[in-house]
Symmetry: C2
Subunit: 732 residues, 2 copies
């Protein structure tokens, strides 16, 4: 199962419709976020009433919220880390004792079964949580956060329930020995924390702290979510700057200095919190020099010098990493399509997860069993779970250090064990096996990230090359497969540099990552982009497709547009909103000059959510006159309803009320952005991307509405192999 | 002299007008860049003709240009570094020999005179170059680049002549022993290189390579200049990621992933080039592990651990750094006003520079002379220019290592010399003196940066605190005064981390810099912002002032607006353009339906520069009919004239031609962005900032032009102590 639950499927759980995978689709079920149309008369009045002191208080609250986000994200990371360590430690201890018992007397198959059963038990818990309770918590959550920051609302992605399932799920899947990491889910967790804290309430828990009400709108919430994602990266890798860059690289379209500093602050606090509590847990309170969930250990400066003749070598490794990444993505693409078609029931998904867990255990066991790479057990190689197996006393099985361990520890061993700790055969087999395991695992119905597995592949393979070329080049090629898979460059470089704690390797790391990205891009998209595309998300890229200058707003827009009059009959509004076939979210408001032939002119734009609040509070002209409703509708009422506006079906409007009128003047955005119909697509695109628009009205030269451009209209166009292509809209 | 030459002064060199310094002004002399209004029919036709392959070629050219920018910037940095080292080395050698000769026999005043004369000679050359040839090359150039990236065209800022003067100027001022660094000017140099390379020609040298003609417009050029600035930072500090962040923090408003990667690429290449050539120069070809002009040396991992009880200490030092920075800025502010009033003639400026050079030499000499801090000359303290003076044999004067050295070397010594190398008295005196010297120096008519001086103050003072508190905390507080002065946070953190080559100190550095910034902001603006403000530049900040929601486009716009008809008489156009009192740069184009009472409707926007090209090529309707001009005007003609469009006075239009008509349809932007007059200032602001607008048409509900908002209209408003304030427009 994918990270977006049951795509393109009937609302009633059942067989999905035949999915035309040859066609390219754009789903209509994802709503867009709106950063612009909140500005109506009520809002402006509030802003005008506010003193400079009020704005300063708001600014301080923003900083406080970012601090809270950092602290909570750090605590969650801490909890995950300790739980994983405890559970995995317990598991490996039990299995190790069992293996040691049976090594001499035979009957190691019992150990294998024990191993597989323990793994499956963990994965079962995690899989059930994810598949039955909250399917959106599957996977790393990075694509979902990426979509959210891009402006697409993925249902339930920032809910408390998602967070709980995600945290338990990731603990189970890492403890269950799957080829996964716990870093990706931290980013999602940070986002959820941010979305929760910034709203000052939890809708799930039905608690409203009456705080931060000003921030209950899409623009502000999105800013905090980007801070949360950054805090997540920062906690995961101990890389605050990397976190900020990640947020920017994946999410931001409009760069704002103050926002960046707040994001930076949240990241700092998050690393610091994690660091502080882990240092206490590890019995070294106050030692803050080892931040992050993952820790590559310390690199001595002497061992990391490099020379210019190594540069071509790095470039080759980068290119190879790109190829590997493209292969990984292609395999995973086909696997994902297979899963969408055949593995869509929750019980099937759990069974697949169990299968993967058992196979992982079996493969690991077999590899360890048949490996005869014995290494002396030195003082510094005193890994906790080193297996002796059939090695002589004082020796350990080298293959086991790679498999019989959490992936983080394996990466560290690969970086730091002295030359000669591994023989090439072991490394080659390990790389190969782990590659396929990781590829199979990504996309299962478990919470898990792909960062550490790809890094582990890179580390094993980098070490292998190092041995083969008789030179020891530990860090730089490591990121290559990862860059080949996910195609982040700048933020990944900084994350790698911050995580290794050494800048010297910065330049080669950059070089390797960049080349891996270029090579990978040539063959296949990034993994996250593939999954986003398979989910038919209306994702806006950075720029309009290059060859789209001949398209204008006229071709792109939806037309005709359902408009409302400034003073509109309630019945009409209810009918339009109830019409399931259209399902529009924004409506231009027009004004008709009475007794005149002039066409109706655009005077504003109102959102479905705003209309629903108005209907719920029965803000009708007649009632206002008869003084039945004393209280004027305030901005607070909109904020209380945000973000879970009730559906129109839940609002009861009597036959009498249908004849009433509603005055939209105060509630609509009175100055929506408009473009003439000849505006080229790139210019429209730029408006959407830079301002975070959801609807853009197309008007003619006397200000009549002639069309409406939405995000989905823009996301339809993309540059394919044969020039500009247009995606179909899904029928669901 | 300031970095913007002779502000608010008559064009004829003479006494400046009485500058009303109590009033706040906005100068009209700076033009804005335009990222939007290039898109006319010719442009669209070209874009539509272009194949996907063509776009790919463009993309490749962009990468090639970024590579070239990186290489050239790296080479320039290399040249500056080697020249400074040679010249300064020669100077210190001569003086050292002289001092040694006179120490025993008396007559050290001759040495002092020699020192002062040598310094003055260097500064004289640099000062004359700057004051007489190219005053814009004064200072670090960072404020100018900041303005350019913000969208303000500072005259002559990216010209070849500026680059030459800047490079020679900075070599002279560093070799002349002033309290300056060579890093700031590198950023400006990178920007100039980028502006030149990306245009594929040099107007100064009158060479057109017929390359990259597509990039001859403001949007593209700005993108390359930001890459150049990043390459400059990268070369200066060996900090490619820091360079990217600097560009973003100071310049970018619209973040684009592809652009960021190109900037990153340019930065990488620049560091690499510098590194490569310097490694050859230093006789260690191929050792690439020491990038950057400044090099803090290697920090051993053991010496940099820190504990949480040090955190409050760091915070205090950050706060102190912020205070110091605010003091620096205030002093420099008053000094700058003094300079604007009284030191505006080039010869006076040169004399001031000479005075500072002489005083710097004298003060340094006096400090060294009266210092009796002798330290044993160990094997590792074998600094090239250590002075023995009155110390015993095998000892050296400790004050001299700080003063008798280039500032970069002094910083390195302060970081790395063993505990006990300095006594607190020496450090305290040095910090104090250097603080005032640096403050006096910034703003002189020499090319020089403030980065290294402020870092040196920070290092000396950090070391002092370290001694006093008996703990050795080398790096983290170092940046505090700098952050207090220039108020960059994120990029500075990364630069510091990259330059020290050690990530462990990342967190405390961030903390210190952030607190220094917050404290500094409380008292005084950043140094660059002060200078930008004193120059009355129409600089747009990140967001509209918080309390500006009650302002609408109606209050902000200029009105009435000079419009042109779509087919307009040449005489009218010439008259409007020649009218010096208005000096508009953009004109809405309207169309009047013939024989109708309807008002004229907006149908486009045309720029002064476009009209001038049209007039120059005599694109008149009558001539086209009579087939006198065979060739249709092409985009190329606009590109050839960019960016130095001739003034209207240089274009001769005969009396007959004045009666001709010009058809603007093809050349105007047919779909300018418009807003209704009720749009709030923050929304207008956001449009300007996010889209890089220069003109925004305000239209009423039948699409009549009722006003025009320009960047200057927006830059007028700012949040002062008593709420929203409006700047006056300068009368020059």
């Amino acid at each position: 199962m994918l990270f977006f639950p049951r795509p393109l499927q009937d609302p009633i759980r059942g067989r999905p419709k035949e999915i035309p995978h040859n066609e390219k689709l754009l789903s209509l079920k994802y709503e867009s976020l709106d950063y612009d149309n909140i500005e109506n008369q009520l809002f402006l009045e509030e802003e005008r009433r506010m003193s400079p002191m009020g704005f300063r208080c708001l600014e301080i609250s923003r900083w406080v919220i970012c601090g809270l986000i950092g602290i909570l994200t750090g605590l969650i990371a801490c909890f995950i880390d300790i739980m994983v360590e405890k559970l995995a430690g317990y598991k490996y201890q039990v299995i190790k004792e069992n293996i040691e018992k049976f090594t001499e007397v035979g009957g190691l198959s019992i150990s294998l079964i024990l191993w597989a059963v323990l793994n499956c038990a963990f994965v079962l818990v995690g899989g059930i949580m994810v598949a039955f309770f909250e399917p959106i918590a599957a996977g790393s959550g990075i694509p979902q956060i990426k979509c959210y920051l891009n402006g697409v609302k993925i249902p339930r992605v920032v809910r408390l329930k998602t967070l709980v399932v995600k945290v338990i799920g990731v603990i189970c899947s890492v403890a269950g020995g799957l080829a996964v990491g716990k870093e990706g889910p931290m980013i999602h967790s940070g986002g959820v924390v941010a979305a929760g804290v910034s709203q000052g309430r939890s809708t799930s828990l039905k608690r409203d702290f009456k705080m931060f009400e000003y921030f209950r709108r899409d623009t502000e919430k999105r800013d905090f979510v980007s801070a949360g994602a950054a805090a997540g990266v920062s906690a995961a890798f101990g890389a605050p700057v990397g976190g900020v860059l990640f947020s920017l690289e994946e999410g931001a379209s409009f760069w704002n200095q103050m926002l960046t500093w707040r994001i930076f602050f949240a990241s700092m606090i998050s690393t610091f919190t994690l660091n502080f509590f882990l240092s206490i847990y590890h019995g070294k309170p106050g030692d803050l020099s080892n931040p992050g969930l993952i820790n590559f250990g310390r690199f001595e400066s002497d061992s990391v010098a490099y020379y210019y003749y190594e540069i071509p070598l790095f470039m080759c490794m980068g290119a190879l990493g790109g190829l590997l990444g493209a292969l990984f993505n292609s395999l995973n693409y086909w696997l994902t399509i297979f899963r969408i078609r055949y593995v869509h029931r929750p019980c099937l998904q759990v069974m697949e997860a169990l299968l993967v867990a058992a196979v992982t255990a079996a493969v690991s066991f077999t590899m360890i069993y048949f490996s005869n790479d014995c290494q002396p057990l030195g003082p510094e190689r005193n890994e906790e779970y080193s297996l002796q197996l059939f090695c002589a006393d004082g020796e350990y099985n080298s293959m086991a250090t790679a498999f019989f361990n959490t992936p983080e520890r394996s990466v560290r061993s690969l970086f730091h064990y002295q030359p000669g700790s591994y023989n090439p055969m072991t490394l080659g087999l390990f790389t190969l096996t782990y590659f396929f395991l990781a590829c199979w695992t990504y996309g299962l119905a478990v919470s898990a990230g792909v960062f550490i597995p790809s890094l582990l592949i890179g580390a094993a393979w980098g070490r292998l090359c190092g041995i083969l070329l008789a030179s020891f080049t530990p860090t730089s090629p490591v990121g290559a497969p990862h860059s080949g898979i996910v195609r982040m460059t700048l933020s990944l470089t900084v994350i790698m540099v911050e995580a290794t704690g050494n800048v010297t390797y910065g330049l080669p790391i950059m070089l390797v990552l960049m080349i891996a990205k270029i090579v990978g891009d040539y063959f296949q998209e990034g993994l996250y982009d593939i999954h986003i595309k398979l989910q038919s998300v209306p994702f806006l890229h950075w720029e309009a497709p290059a060859t789209s200058h001949w398209l204008t707003a006229r071709e792109v827009m939806s037309s005709p547009v359902t408009c409302f009059n400034r003073i509109e009959k309630v019945g009409t509004i209810v009918d339009v909103l109830s019409n399931t076939s259209t399902n529009h979210n924004g409506f231009p408001v027009v004004v008709q000059v009475l007794d005149s032939d002039e066409p109706a002119k655009l005077c504003g734009l109102i959102l479905r959510s705003q209309l629903i609040v108005l209907l719920k509070h029965k803000v009708f002209v007649e009632l206002a006159r008869s003084r039945l409703s004393q209280r004027k509708l305030q901005l607070k009422d909109f904020r209380d309803a945000y973000p879970r506006f009730p559906p129109i079906q839940s609002i009861h409007v009597s036959q009498d009320e249908r004849e009433c009128m509603m005055d939209l003047t105060e509630f609509m955005n009175p100055t929506p952005y408009t473009v003439p119909q000849d505006t080229s697509l790139p210019r429209v695109f730029k408006l959407f991307r830079a301002l975070g628009l959801r609807h853009l009205v197309v008007a003619d030269d006397v200000n009549r509405v002639i069309g409406l451009v939405t995000r989905k209209d823009l996301a339809r166009y993309h540059l394919g192999k044969h020039g500009l292509e247009e995606l179909q809209l899904a029928q669901t």
